[in-house]
Amino acid sequence: MFYREAGDFSTTYPQDSQTFPIKFDRWRYYVVLFIAVVVIPFMINDYWVNSIFMPFLIYAIAAIGLNILVGYCGQVSLGTGGFMAVGAYACYKLMTGFPEVSMFIHVLLAGGITAMVGVLFGLPSLRIKGFYLAVATLAAQFFLVWLFNKVSWFYNYSASGQINAPERDTFGILITGPNTEAWATYMFCLIFTIFSAVVARNLTRGSVGRQWMAIRDMDIAAEIIGVNPLKAKLTAFAVSSFFVGISGALFFAVYLGAVEVGEAFGITKSFLVLFMIIIGGLGSIFGSFAGAAFLVLLPVALKVIGVDWLGWPTDIVAHLNLVIVGGLIVVFLIAEPHGLAQLWRVAKEKLRLWPFPH
């Protein structure tokens, strides 16, 4: 039926090693891309972009970033919120310092600055492992939030300590500020999401990604076969922080528009992104998307069902949300430690054999 290798011949090496080797899968990917790039921008409104698509796209970038570090390289990190804050504040300083430069460049530079900070905090990973590294990154989280609260240069000495995104554009199209069009902010985030996913996917398929995975699976063995742990771990920190920094910059500049570091980039943010990759699937790009979609959509869906349709009190629904997310994390850890991505993988395997499974 569908999802078959049968009749799908590779005649060249590039064909053989492409990301989606099965024709059906490849077409599905193109259709999703087509809908995301060509169809949705024409249908989207403020509610959809601000409540669903933008948080989904931005969290997906953060999840991809964290997945590279935790899922591919095996370095547990609880500093995601802090690194997102670095991206956000770097973007803010760049936006206010160089107002005429395109937002694209600001966001990329913010990612680059975060990558440098990430490498700095990644240095301890050469000596400490596992839980101890998690605690070291936790220190990064608290230190960075404290820093952005304490040093008023970061928020341009404003009285409230808040940073506010001024109106900025790219190619004459407004990207930040209150007067943006829904499609513009959506496309801006989508471009970064696609870029991140494609880069991350190809990095993890190449020699760098193999080094990361070797370190993850057994660092001593990896060292013996010639993987340089210094290089592998620090590149993982750099690439991961780069993506997390981009997501932080978008989160502040495009999505929220005004940010207070303790509230927006606190420890809860680190946990949220970690939950995304646990539920979505460690070591999987698709899992990053699935986890982000799940945790962004679940509260919105619960609210729509509970409050708007069933008319339940808002507090009951909010509490129910906590109960369900907590329960799901426990269920996933027990029943499917590899997350939604594994369910997808199993479904694909089943499809290949269907309708004659042995």
Binding site: S160, N164, E167, V300, A301, V304, T314
Partner: protein, 427 residues
């Protein structure tokens, strides 16, 4: 990616909900999380007042009111979601009850032509209506609060506080940081020594701050706290035997629930107030008759007369009065959010009006103008009587030091105006 398809189905159902002619008041409430202690009674009061108007008068000017409640959990991301999901329903005015969410909504709501009423919170310099066309923070703002606290300390010390040590214990967020600049100016003016002690969200951990207070022995402590932070601070102050009558909180740190956990030791704690205390007003009899006894009260219906509940009633009353002004101005009963803004800008609250509404002496009198969106900034002081279990007003609504505050408002709003290329609202 497949999840996207499912969300479209939800969209279709949401779009299908009917649209009626009514006055929509979104209530971005928080009944969960560490700030729920203040969020629940405020949201109850806000909703109950509109229920009363519907039940007793059939709405405002014959148009029914509808309160759309949306849970934010004091979280800015959820605040965005709530704003986007309610603005399409014809929302007239937003009262987010969170400084963080207010900051975020200021540019958005201005672009969407929807007014924001941040009553006693939000961005203080929004009092300059010339720059912030859609933001109102009457009757008083954070800087009035800081000045009122200092005025009270001045009164107690015969007008001379030079050389005194005053500590500010504040929530380490935009909210808590707002008064710092004003207090610094006031410390220059009056010659007191100011020390700053930040408490991080959510505020349960304050041992080190109070240890520092114990060591430095300030003469007075001013607190800008909210939610669970208040209860912890009052308890910690009691633990180090800090004299409660020298401990004064902003109006967000002055609810019954903040002082009750410390028991008798909290006796004498002071807090600023935007409204009168208790439920000894004619309106409350009607509230009981039309709302509570008929089972239509919001939440558990047990918050009548508490400080945040009264503030919710007051906020709803001001919104309803602004609607009446707008209806009169524009000659239509079913007003839009832009007309609501005009109503708010021409709002005048007098003693006669409050008496007529069944709320005599309930709040300060003030008038709003195009330039001044902050009112006159009159603030009262209350004190906790632990034996009676109630706050007692110890000084009536009094003016604050606008000589210090107004230049700060002008300076901050001018910076915002330049930063965002805003045109003057008033001409």
């Amino acid at each position: 990616m497949n999840y996207k398809l499912g969300t479209w189905a939800v969209a279709g159902l949401m779009a299908a909900s009917p649209v009626m002619a009514d006055l929509v008041f979104p209530s971005l409430s928080y009944r969960t999380g560490p700030y729920a202690a203040g969020g629940i009674p405020f949201a109850d009061g806000y909703a109950d007042y509109f229920t009363l108007l519907n039940e007793r008068d059939g709405g405002i000017g014959g148009v029914m009111t509808r309160v759309l409640e949306c849970e934010t959990g004091y979280n800015t991301e959820k605040g965005v979601e709530c704003y986007e999901s309610t603005k399409g329903e014809g929302a007239l005015v937003y009262q987010p009850l969170s400084t963080g969410i207010t900051y975020q909504l200021i540019p958005k709501a201005t672009a969407d032509d929807i007014p924001i009423h941040s009553m006693g919170y939000g961005r203080t310099s929004a009092a300059n209506g010339d720059v912030f066309s859609h933001v109102f923070n009457y009757p008083a703002n954070y800087w009035n609060g800081a000045s009122a606290a200092i005025n009270h300390i001045l009164d107690e010390n015969g007008g001379d506080i030079s050389g005194k040590k005053i500590a500010l214990v504040y929530h380490n967020s935009a909210y808590g940081k707002e008064p710092i600049r004003t207090l610094e100016k006031l410390s220059e003016k009056h010659g007191f020594e100011l020390s700053l002690l930040a408490v991080d969200h959510p505020g349960q951990e304050q041992k080190s701050q109070w240890l520092q207070i114990r060591r430095e022995k300030p003469d007075n402590v001013i607190m800008y706290g909210w939610g669970v932070m208040n209860q912890v601070a009052v308890q910690e102050a009691a633990n180090i035997r800090f004299p409660m009558e020298n401990f004064i909180g902003i109006w967000w740190s002055g609810a019954e629930i903040d002082v009750q956990p410390a028991g008798d030791k909290a006796n004498g704690y002071k807090a600023l107030a935007l409204t009168a205390v208790g439920d000894d007003f004619p309106l409350y009899d009607e509230l009981r008759q039309y709302v509570v006894d008929t089972g239509k009260a919001a939440g558990a219906g047990d918050q009548l007369g508490t400080v945040p509940y009264n503030r919710g009633i007051y906020a709803a009353m001001l919104a309803a009065e602004a609607v009446k002004v707008a209806q009169k101005m524009h000659g239509t009963d079913d007003i839009t959010s832009g007309q609501m803004r005009d109503g708010m800008e021409n709002l005048v609250i007098t003693e006669e009006l409050m008496t007529e509404l069944g709320l005599p002496n309930f709040g300060p009198t003030f008038s709003v103008s195009c330039q001044n969106h902050g009112g006159e900034g009159l603030v009262a002081v209350t004190q906790w009587d632990a034996a009676a279990g109630e706050f007692v007003t110890i000084s009536d609504f009094a003016p604050t030091d606008m000589d210090v505050i107004q230049p700060l408002i002008d300076e901050d709003s001018a910076a915002y105006k330049a930063e965002n290329n805003i045109e003057s609202n008033c001409n």
